[in-house]
């Protein structure tokens, strides 16, 4: 049997097919091998989490913490100030609230407040579990929550190559970066560059599908239902351009504008709760800066302003579905 170390070793070709989750792990392995200041901190990380990084890097690089989200995140920030480049794994998106004081009042502010004396190269990682009856205390998508905060960079990769490249960029970045994974993307496969310096720049959106009738911005996990809908719309003769922001902070408004200049129609799909989400921000900027390019109102689809229910019967149509995306697209024409 292959060990994890072998499995994630760099390969000779230029691309290799792997899952989103494996690509994330590979990014961590490569960066930890490249830079010994990179350490992993979180609950059960030495035992759980897919790849046993322990084998390769030992206990001094992989730290199982007590259940103390607030302070082990703060500890990661303090370590970043003092020469390490920690990856703090908060596991579940909903747990970020426990660490929000340290992330906001300390990590996002201290470089500015010390007049640039200290750098805070910390990565805060979490995964979101929107479906599967996790119930409201485990299902949040708290990225909008942090977007209002200056001093943070926020990424939300949706494909295997993207997560490898963005995770590597996050680790190499000298400022605090939050990375939000989507659990239902973990098993999605994609071609991933084997180049150990394959980086995706923070702040650059990606056109996932070219099209001419409608610009559809799909935020994070919304990409799955979006691609299904877009394939079906294509058969109906509706050509949709799909843009994945990839970075939520800062948003790549130029990419959005170029596409809207072409289509004149904008649909934004964000699985986060509706109020003050990523879609709100994008729509607001477009309503100001791309107003005269728009032929139709900007339409947003998102989760309702209701907590995520436990029951599968209530959860089923909670997030924008393929059907709703198709319907909204048709109405935009």
């Amino acid at each position: 049997m292959q060990t994890d170390v072998q499995k994630f070793a760099a390969t000779p070709g230029t691309h290799i097919e792997m899952t989103y989750f494996d690509a994330l792990m590979q990014a961590q392995v490569e960066e930890m091998a490249r830079d010994e200041r990179v350490v992993l901190v979180g609950e059960d990380v030495a035992v759980y989490g897919g790849v046993k990084l322990l084998e390769q890097f030992g206990r001094n690089r992989i730290w199982n913490t007590p259940i103390s989200e607030g302070s082990f995140t703060g500890m990661g920030i303090g370590a970043a100030i003092n020469g390490l480049r920690p990856i703090v794994d908060l596991t579940v998106g909903s747990f970020l609230y426990l660490a929000s004081d340290q992330i906001i009042n300390q990590a996002s502010k201290l470089r500015f407040m010390t007049g640039g004396q200290i750098d805070i190269p910390v990565v805060v990682r979490c995964c979101m579990y929107p479906v599967g009856s996790n119930a409201a205390q485990h299902a949040d998508r708290p990225y909008p929550f942090f977007m209002n905060v200056p001093g943070l960079k926020i990424v939300s990769p949706t494909g295997a190559a993207d997560i490898k490249g963005l995770m590597k960029s996050a680790i190499r970045d000298d400022d605090p970066v939050l990375i939000f994974e989507d659990n239902h993307l973990w098993t999605v496969k994609g071609d991933v560059p084997t180049d150990p310096d394959h980086l995706i720049p923070i702040g650059k959106a990606d056109v996932k599908r070219e099209g001419k009738d409608i610009t559809l911005i799909a935020v994070a996990g919304a990409i799955r239902a979006t691609m299904e809908a877009v394939d079906a719309l294509d058969e109906e003769g509706i050509s949709v351009e799909v843009i994945d922001p990839r970075t939520l902070k800062p948003l790549d408004h130029e990419a959005f504008k170029s596409s809207v200049a072409k289509t004149g129609r904008l649909l934004i799909v964000d699985n986060a709760h509706r109020v003050c989400n990523v879609g709100s921000e994008i729509a607001a900027v477009m309503a100001e800066e791309a107003f005269y390019l728009l032929k139709r109102p900007i339409v947003r689809l998102s989760a309702p302003d209701i907590h995520v229910p436990f029951s599968p019967a209530l959860e089923r149509d909670f997030y924008p579905t393929k059907e709703r995306i198709m319907q909204a697209s048709r109405q935009l024409l």
Binding site: V47, Y48, E69, G70, S71, A135, I306, F310
Partner: protein, 302 residues
């Protein structure tokens, strides 16, 4: 279990098998008007406190007849009618809430004790510290009951506690802390009953650590079993020597209870569970259009 594996129970399932004595012993020591809060693992606890089995089972399946109408699920039982205020799947998140229940009783001048369950892992959360301090300061009628099952997910006490005797945290807050055999239902009952007495006469909170063990894996969705954080022998040994059910059975038999009576009780319980299962399976799923229900009590303008 079979229902979970058969796909009838969605989401997670953190069973409390092996920890029954700690749970039942503690719940028996408080009264109907007393309050209780639980955790992600508090499945037996509501039963101990007197909640209706049918509605609990239906909740596990996300049914309309569930105690929380299918909104909460496995980690979030509550039955206000019997004082089960809430359970928190955020580790340590329920400790301030329990403290608040007791705070309310004090302010309102009501004779009500709150029993707050949490695990050994939750002890390291800031909420434990902040809450115990306030409860001690104001002499709130709350019992902090730590079910120490030796592990938080895959992490042992030695890997997570600067000092592993949890009861020793109590003196720092000026409250008594004691450790009991959590597999001995009478011992737990005694300890909690005494703490309840203290609380009722205004002497404040007590931290009780029940030493117990989780027989099943952390949850029926995580694959931690394979991860080797505890040995198969360790688990087997506990199941063999420290099963609270057989231990108490033995005590009862020694005390003169006869086998037949015990069998009858066990059969009754089995019947209850079967019936609950029937109820749950028969209960309809909530209708999608009811999704917004229960978000707010006060209606909104506009």
């Amino acid at each position: 279990m079979r229902q979970f594996k058969g796909g009838k129970i969605p989401g997670y399932l953190h069973t409390s098998v092996g920890q029954e004595a700690a749970i039942v012993g503690a719940c028996l020591a408080i009264g109907d008007n007393d309050a209780m809060t639980g955790t992600h693992r508090s499945h037996g606890h509501p039963i101990g406190k007197g909640a209706h089995l049918n509605a609990l089972m239906a909740e596990l399946m996300g049914k309309e007849g569930g105690i929380c109408k299918g909104r909460g699920g496995s980690m979030h039982f509550a039955d206000k009618s019997v004082g089960i205020m809430t359970e928190s799947a955020i580790v340590g998140g329920g400790i301030p809430l329990a403290t608040g229940c007791a705070f309310s009783a004090k302010v309102r001048g009501v004779d009500q004790v709150t029993l707050c369950f949490f695990g050994d892992g939750a002890v390291n959360q800031g909420t434990f510290h902040e809450s115990l301090n306030m409860a001690s300061l104001w002499k709130l009628a709350v019992i902090y009951l730590c079910e120490n099952n030796l592990y938080a997910f895959t992490t042992s006490l030695a890997q997570s506690h600067g000092q592993a005797d949890i009861a020793q945290r109590a003196p720092g807050y000026g409250m008594p802390g004691l450790t009991v055999d959590g597999q001995d239902v009478s011992a737990v009952y005694e300890a909690v009953a005494q703490a309840v007495n203290r609380a009722r006469v205004g002497q404040g909170p007590t931290l009780i650590v029940a030493e117990t063990y989780r027989f099943d894996d952390h949850s029926f969705r995580s694959s931690s079993r394979a991860l080797g954080y505890r040995s198969a022998e360790e688990v087997e040994k506990h199941k063999r020597d420290r099963d609270p059910l057989s231990l108490y059975r033995k005590v009862l038999l020694e005390e003169g209870e006869n086998e037949e009576n015990l069998r009858a009780i066990e059969d009754e319980v089995t019947d209850d569970v079967k019936q609950a299962l029937q109820f749950a399976l028969a209960s309809p799923m909530p209708r999608p259009e009811t999704l917004p229900d229960y978000m707010f009590k006060s209606s909104l303008a506009g």
